[in-house]
Symmetry: D2
Subunit: 334 residues, 4 copies
Amino acid sequence: MIRIGVIGYGYWGPNIVRNFHTHEGSEVVLVCDKNPKASERLRMAHPSIPFTSNPAEIVKSPDIDIVAVVTPVWAHYQLAKAALENGKHIFVEKPFTCSVTQAEELIELADRKNLRIMVDHTFLFTGAVRKIRQLVDEGALGDLYYYDSLRVNLGLFQHDVNVIWDLAPHDLSIMDHIIKEKPEAVVATGEKHLNGVEDVAFITIYFPKRIIAHVNVNWLSPVKVRTTLIGGEKKMLVWNDLEADEKIKVYDKGVSMSTNPANLHQLLVSYRSGDMWAPQVEQVEALRAETAYFLKCIEENLTPLNDGNAGLRVVRILEAAERSVRNRGEAVTL
Amino acid sequence: MIRIGVIGYGYWGPNIVRNFHTHEGSEVVLVCDKNPKASERLRMAHPSIPFTSNPAEIVKSPDIDIVAVVTPVWAHYQLAKAALENGKHIFVEKPFTCSVTQAEELIELADRKNLRIMVDHTFLFTGAVRKIRQLVDEGALGDLYYYDSLRVNLGLFQHDVNVIWDLAPHDLSIMDHIIKEKPEAVVATGEKHLNGVEDVAFITIYFPKRIIAHVNVNWLSPVKVRTTLIGGEKKMLVWNDLEADEKIKVYDKGVSMSTNPANLHQLLVSYRSGDMWAPQVEQVEALRAETAYFLKCIEENLTPLNDGNAGLRVVRILEAAERSVRNRGEAVTL
Amino acid sequence: MIRIGVIGYGYWGPNIVRNFHTHEGSEVVLVCDKNPKASERLRMAHPSIPFTSNPAEIVKSPDIDIVAVVTPVWAHYQLAKAALENGKHIFVEKPFTCSVTQAEELIELADRKNLRIMVDHTFLFTGAVRKIRQLVDEGALGDLYYYDSLRVNLGLFQHDVNVIWDLAPHDLSIMDHIIKEKPEAVVATGEKHLNGVEDVAFITIYFPKRIIAHVNVNWLSPVKVRTTLIGGEKKMLVWNDLEADEKIKVYDKGVSMSTNPANLHQLLVSYRSGDMWAPQVEQVEALRAETAYFLKCIEENLTPLNDGNAGLRVVRILEAAERSVRNRGEAVTL
Amino acid sequence: MIRIGVIGYGYWGPNIVRNFHTHEGSEVVLVCDKNPKASERLRMAHPSIPFTSNPAEIVKSPDIDIVAVVTPVWAHYQLAKAALENGKHIFVEKPFTCSVTQAEELIELADRKNLRIMVDHTFLFTGAVRKIRQLVDEGALGDLYYYDSLRVNLGLFQHDVNVIWDLAPHDLSIMDHIIKEKPEAVVATGEKHLNGVEDVAFITIYFPKRIIAHVNVNWLSPVKVRTTLIGGEKKMLVWNDLEADEKIKVYDKGVSMSTNPANLHQLLVSYRSGDMWAPQVEQVEALRAETAYFLKCIEENLTPLNDGNAGLRVVRILEAAERSVRNRGEAVTL
């Protein structure tokens, strides 16, 4: 039985607790939150799980194998570090850390102590992202051209981080999972309107082989949109995460160029337009699959796909995007 | 009776001819195109209008008051200049010219000769844009925060210009009409995948007062999208130009910040969420309204709102965007 | 403190228990289900509430004020009757009973014993239906012309009732709430394809004053649709219950007829087409509001709007529809 | 060269003229309309085609092979009969005639004189209906369960016919093309609100083998809907004719019933839920394909699929529906 301690019982923590507590091979043995109301909520949902307001009780407990850090991002590094130093595996909310330096230090520490890190890139475990990854792996889309994501809604405003750190980690972790190339540079633009942090931002990520990614995040949109276009040489797809049933539509559409045999300087464009196909997407609770997978990684000594390095890759782009947005789109090489 | 000569009878030219030929106070007296098939198409539609393949016959004709230049953009400057030099008013397809220098020269020439320039920013005359402009003018949206436009589809590839020069003029002319401030800087990113010109591009335009605009143009999208979000302090709107009936939706939604009276360092966020309202949008043929307006401007010696300077403002951003995209998002000050 | 016993802890029962158990002035003191697995589910969710498999323990308990009957419809009458005979108020799942006779008997019994009946017409307590009712009450729609509802999806097949008894009670209870007239006649058509009960059915209800209602219910639809059109003399509305945000759209559209003053035999039709307006709809858990309202009715000795008579009116139409569908659309007078 | 005379140059007539006049093997030699303004419109569009206000000039002309009757339905019979008597093939607007008797008489007359009748069931020649028919023919849907069509909008009010005769011919002609069985009975309900004819109507058509069809037509809807659900044993489809690109969506969804081997009295329901697929639909002008097909039928002496008998089958249902609606849903056996 793997024993888990959870630090942070706000919006997302209850889902972490519920999942780790109901898997066959694991149980949550202690939950911590600074807010005393969290104690009451925990008691209602899980009367048998003890509560503490002191995170040290979790990171130092000899009875805990995994520490789940489900706090605001500024607290991740210190809690994760203490947990690793005390020999615990860690499950950390996204974004992994506030900086590349912090992420690198945690990874190095975990490696040294042979501990596992999982960063909670939940979306990678959704039926939709798994299906997209499968289509890319099978070569159904052909060489990728672009990844273009729109993630906008009204609120929630964070006071300590801007819209990039709040919303873009979702897109960046998915993009990192779908595009196999290593990003080269980041250009970000944006604006602050209300509380001194960017509430609207546009991030471009350059990859080798002419692949380009773009992420549009906005806290000031009157409508909620969660749509990603992915264009490939052979097929293109639209993923609308707000659709109940047809989340992914794959279009047998494309463009190809050839040289006119009669005139080598003239390009011929041909368009291909065929059927559309919406593959059935597995209906699973992504967090359930992800937490089960972490338990398996620990039992079988495997490195999770969403390990510390995956977390680091996302933080590296966030850090670059933040620098770029401060300098009006200055290209930041990664 | 105002007499018009039209140069260019390809995709858009027939609409120009039909409109100028059927207004009460104007008639098309000569049409020119290099392509001999255009002659046949003209004869079928307007048997009484003569055709020439020599543009000089139009620009030099003593019987012509307005020359409409409906050619690819690279030919605009020379034809427009010749027409102005021969004392003709000009109606020029968008984008106005290939460069700021060309636009400035044409404007100066027209001023000197007291001639009118209209650049065919057709969208300004649609019911939708007129309604949006009215809402902004009335202050219904409050101070503007952002203008974010998505204009993507599969094709048409142009061989001589990239997707920015092909698709963005629509958005930039509308943005120029809606946002009263003068743009400060442009950051553009993009990528070339097929024929050596950018087919995917993302343009950010910075304005004073924290207004920011963004235009996403893409020739490689499997779906056609024509959606613009406009966020203001008081209200926000979504304009979906592909909707048949409810093109504009105005949301009584917003965010405001205040300082906590008990703790001056703490910001309070309050969200406002109310009704949505889709104002009826006038159903008119925009080009019909625009051409009628040009005739009126000439008769009453008025400066069109979409005059050479409006054309120049769009070209200035296009030129800056092209420079920026070549330098991976380098901010180009306007 | 009002004490509630709940009979039936399958799909819907847990919601009934959760709501009655968490209101300030009420608590659930005993839950019954034939299925022993229900006991386990109850224990997980509400460890403190005792469980029984014998409904008599609930209907006869001196410690219970309200019996909630959340069983299949065939069991409603007997359980409700026993509860009333033992002096309990009853909260009964829809449809109220299997027949008009049963409903009338329960109403008569409750009246005699001065007990309250509430039939769980949950939809009446949604923000959407409250808003529609408000618009009708205010006269915003003018005289009603028609009510046309589409409620289709794949499954759930019931073995004991057909699609009319399964899906139409929702629409009929809403229709009964919106249309103030008393229905005159019912015509229903439908077909059985799989298990010997109708899985597709179309019900027309005639009202005085030329109001007509129509309900299309289908268990064999590949897509889920929940859309109602309501047409009135002044305005018309579309209610799409699957929309997250804009459930109700009110159209300032209409048709009016007048007589041509020059020719009294000639009718002139005039269409009116104006703005569309999507009023904000209160986001509440309907069942929460409904259960709170029942407690209030009992405390203050009020007759609920969804009392036994409301339940009876729905059952009367269901019974008529069933007779009509058996006779290929024979009009059944109510 | 097949020579055509067209009677009726109102809303639809110009399309008939344009198509018959531009096919290779046919030309329109005379157009007739009572309205003198039609003459002017014809002259603008086709200066070379002569005009008459006397239909006798067309039906009696020795220079005409086909008479196209594009008038209101009440005039079809007399004009078509005169044309047939004068040895002309006829192309008649839908619905074919005002009554079964008229239709039968015209068919008998044409047979006797070996002339062809085509009824303008244009929808049969759309890419969408051809694709649906193909799917049915290939057995992709399996045995059909139901055909359910929704065709509603605001206006147009006809003064001489009700909404059934105005809108339902589209659906009935398509249904007749898709469902191979012979309909058995019709039940129709509806209501008159404004000008003395039904403006809202619901028609059920019973077929052998438990196939059921339903058509919902409404002139008083604030929104335009053109959606048809077709359910089969193996697959189900949704046809939304207002979608620009994905008109037909085929769902690999279904329900099957089996008997529990352990308990022969218990039915087991199993649901199947798979991918959705939107086949590319040919983009053609349906009327162009239909008119070309009529010319071919005449040249090669073939019986059109949309011949007089197809027209009669639709009229028979319309006549039955009208009788049924007058008697509040009385089932009319066909």
